[in-house]
Symmetry: none
Subunit: 110 residues, 2 copies
DNA sequence: GGTTTGGTCAACCATTTGGTTGAATATGCG
DNA sequence: CGCATATTCAACCAAATGGTTGACCAAACC
């Protein structure tokens, strides 16, 4: 569960990958087209896309010999909700949020 | 470009550090007390705190021989703003949040 | 003053990350 | 068929990450 957030945040921690997400915001794209504006190899971009896919941030569907990349905002939604617990905490929500975080806080008293 | 987001997201990508943030949500804590529930060395926790500090997510102030850690939600807000650049699921996010509150927070006025 | 307490530093280690190149695998085209 | 295109795979590399231990410094206490 919090492993989910691990991979999502780790995926977001790279500027190349964030740029890719922003590109996919406009429209679905083929892998080659995603790679075009970057000054790195196609293989490197392919790896980035794997990381984004494993984080659930995008999906890839192969049609013919072209693999299309599509933004999948669900994973981002989870991370966004997590952050709002800290960013704008209202006192009412605190308790519920802490339970929602599923922080496996090794509480000694339990 | 946004090296800021790099460090913030990278800091959030580790479950130990997210747990620390959740602990600091309750109250400011000394380094030793932060480390207590974890099964790793104090030095390891100290490193995590440095990473959180450099990301701007917490601040540390030394009073006497005790160093106090304090949550600094501003950096998280920046990351949250970045996510809202993907504005299309911003409302969905809020929806999910409200649904979560309804489900997770039965004690509010019952 | 000597010793405990709080915390960091330094050196080290294993694993992961982000990149490269070159070969391999499909798929489409003439 | 034969060739070009789209993408991944495999091996490799340098640097970063997350952890350890032991020495170290600074503040507090008897």
């Amino acid at each position: 569960m919090s492993n989910d957030l691990d991979t999502v945040f780790a995926a977001l921690a790279d500027p190349t990958r964030r740029t890719i997400l922003a590109m996919l915001l406009e429209d679905d794209m083929a892998v080659t087209d995603v790679a075009e504006p970057f000054e790195m190899s196609l293989a490197a971009i392919s790896k980035h896309l794997v990381i984004l896919t494993r984080a659930g941030l995008i999906s890839q569907e192969k049609r013919g010999r072209v693999k299309w990349c599509k933004l999948e905002p669900d994973a981002l939604r989870a991370a966004s909700v997590w952050m709002q617990g800290f960013g704008q905490f209202e006192p009412v929500n605190l308790d519920a949020f802490e339970r929602f975080l599923e922080v496996e806080l090794p509480t000694d008293e339990s």
